[in-house]
């Protein structure tokens, strides 16, 4: 695995306009850095990313099966009992998942380690699926890359392929917080994928969703919603006013409710408990578990339901060495072994492996200047070269 400096495409400004990204002369596209790329071999991708990611996915299914029988799982994840049936039903009904992003610490040599699984509302989909692919094509045309470069990236095709297999037989509604440009853009992209797959779509804001006399959720035309893709996390939905009506609404959600078990960082201590010693897992414990003493005085402390590195703290010898602020500090936490991201020229790349319909089909890399990958991290493209 190498980090290779490279010239930006001369077409970057045009690309930004076409994809409706901001662009500033001299600064490029915010949170996108194509002044370097990461280079992998096929073997590294196949053996060190794809195989482990799909294996971890199977381990996760085993965690969910266990959660169906052992109520301590949902208890420890902090899920209120009133929502347990909703989660169990979505699993028993085999409600299908579409996408997720596993965050892995990997340096090209040792086994990749799972830091967390973004199984509900993963970010950087558009950059991973579309923008970095176009970078590859254009940078290649401009002669900036070695011969016969490839990229671990079938994200777009696999999303379009997956949609018809989700069993959606009516209009697909899609909702997000439409005031956040990033979320709105991601949602529009997913709607386009669904359209490409032949589905009819209707995009709306979460706050536009209504409820009818009969307890159905409705759109702005008062049409009942039967399938809803939501770029909005389960923990927010269930905590809000309409959350109590979700179970009776009859809506099928993408991602389904059972995914909330995996997007909760409580997944990590449960995985460790069930599969201790697995080469791609890090030791992890709930903060109040006496077994956490095994980590000693150096570890990473994470809230169960934070986002993008908020409230993550790295403890070294009992003191906070690095941390990120955020609004999630009051939640229950887990402790995970400190396995630092590798240092490439002072940048710390985090590998996001994309699983579409539970198959590892792509990868997006974000670099932060610190060991906790946050909202300021830049997306950096990658290539595969033998």
């Amino acid at each position: 695995m190498k980090r290779i400096p490279v010239k930006e495409r001369s077409s970057l400004a045009d690309a930004a306009v076409r994809h409706e990204f901001e662009f500033q002369a001299g600064q490029g596209v915010p949170f996108w850095d194509e002044t370097a790329y990461y280079q992998f071999t096929t073997q590294q991708i196949d053996e060190d990313i794809v195989a482990p990611a799909e294996e971890i996915e199977n381990l996760c299914y085993q965690v969910i099966s266990r959660a169906m029988e052992d109520e301590t799982v949902l208890q420890r994840l902090g899920v209120a009992r009133v929502h347990w049936d909703l989660i169990a039903d979505s699993w028993q009904n085999k409600d299908r998942n579409l996408y997720g992003r596993m965050d892995l610490s990997y340096d090209g040599k040792g086994p990749a380690k799972l830091l967390e699984y973004n199984a509900d509302t993963p970010t950087t989909l558009y950059e991973s699926a579309v923008f970095q692919w176009e970078w590859l094509e254009e940078a290649d045309k401009e002669g900036l890359l070695p011969d016969r470069c490839d990229q671990f990236n079938e994200v777009h095709e696999k999303i379009v392929e997956a949609f018809p297999r989700l069993g959606i037989d009516s209009i697909l509604h899609l909702a997000s917080n439409q005031d956040v440009e990033d979320d709105k853009g991601t949602l529009e992209y997913i709607a386009e994928c669904a359209q490409e797959a032949g589905l009819l779509t209707n995009v709306l804001a979460m706050e536009d969703i209504g409820i009818s006399e009969e307890g159905q959720f409705t759109d702005l035309d008062d049409k009942p919603i039967s399938t809803l893709f939501k770029l909005y996390p389960w923990e927010w939905i269930l905590a809000e006013d309409f959350g109590a009506h979700v179970a009776a609404s009859g809506v099928r959600f993408i991602e389904p409710a059972w995914r909330s078990i995996l997007s909760n960082k409580g997944l990590l201590p449960i995985l460790w408990e069930m599969f201790e010693g697995h080469p791609n897992l890090l030791p992890a414990f709930f903060e109040d578990d006496p077994a956490a003493d095994a980590l000693g005085e150096t570890y990473v402390r994470k809230p169960l339901l934070g986002r993008q590195g908020a409230n993550v703290e790295i403890y070294r010898d009992g003191k906070i060495e690095t941390s990120r602020e955020g609004p999630y500090g009051e939640q229950a936490h887990i402790l995970q072994e400190f396995h630092p991201l590798p240092d490439f020229d002072g940048r710390f790349p985090l590998i996001g492996c994309w699983l579409i319909a539970s198959k590892a089909v792509g990868m997006g890399i974000r670099e932060d200047k610190t060991l906790i990958t946050g909202t300021e991290a830049n997306f950096v493209p990658h290539v595969i070269v033998e």
Partner: protein, 181 residues
């Protein structure tokens, strides 16, 4: 893993729903449209039993599928003065709801000469009173009697849930910002 995908295919943002096709461009199917049961009975090309059974079916669907409004005024703005009636549904606070009067009904010709079926109620808007419209706002032409309409206009009308409130989602987003992880 290399593939020849045209990345231009994933560019333009598409607005909301893409549900309505222009009726003119679509294949047409045989249908019969009448403003009243009487009008159908007077048509020598129609059998009495067909007129009645389809009229009754459309009337039965009318209250469920007609667009709903929280006030008579809102309804009349859309459908015209004196063209609205109270709907059987109520709001959660016990208030009345209103819907347009049923202004006609449409039935489709059944395969194999088995008469007419799949009937549904029709309406006319204030802004375009010459054209019959289904409860899903699909155009059904301007003619009465035996006629032809766009295939998609014959689709079963959807029930109009009467939304009693909105805004029950979204508060966390306003507080925390992006949902993404």
């Amino acid at each position: 893993m290399k593939r020849l995908r045209n990345s231009a295919s994933v560019i333009a943002l598409v607005a909301a729903s893409a549900m309505f096709t222009t009726a003119c461009e679509e294949p047409k199917v045989d249908a019969a449209i009448y403003e009243t049961l009487q009008q159908c009975l007077k048509d020598i090309n129609m059998v009495r039993s067909e007129c009645e059974k389809n009229y009754n079916s459309a009337r039965q669907q009318h209250a469920a599928v007609a667009p709903k409004f929280a006030s008579k005024q809102e309804c009349e703005t859309e459908f015209g003065a004196a063209r609205c009636e109270q709907a059987p549904q109520r709001t959660s606070s016990g208030g009345s709801m209103f819907m347009p009067l049923m202004m006609g009904y449409m039935m489709g010709s059944m395969i194999g000469g088995r008469g007419f079926g799949n009937s549904q109620p029709l309406y006319r808007t204030r802004s375009n009173p010459g054209t019959f419209r289904t409860s899903d706002n699909k155009a059904a032409g301007r003619s009465t009697g035996r006629t032809q309409v766009a295939k998609s206009s014959m689709a079963r009308p959807t029930s109009k849930a009467s939304t009693r409130s909105r805004g029950g989602f979204g508060s966390s987003g306003r507080r925390f910002g992006s949902a993404a992880t």
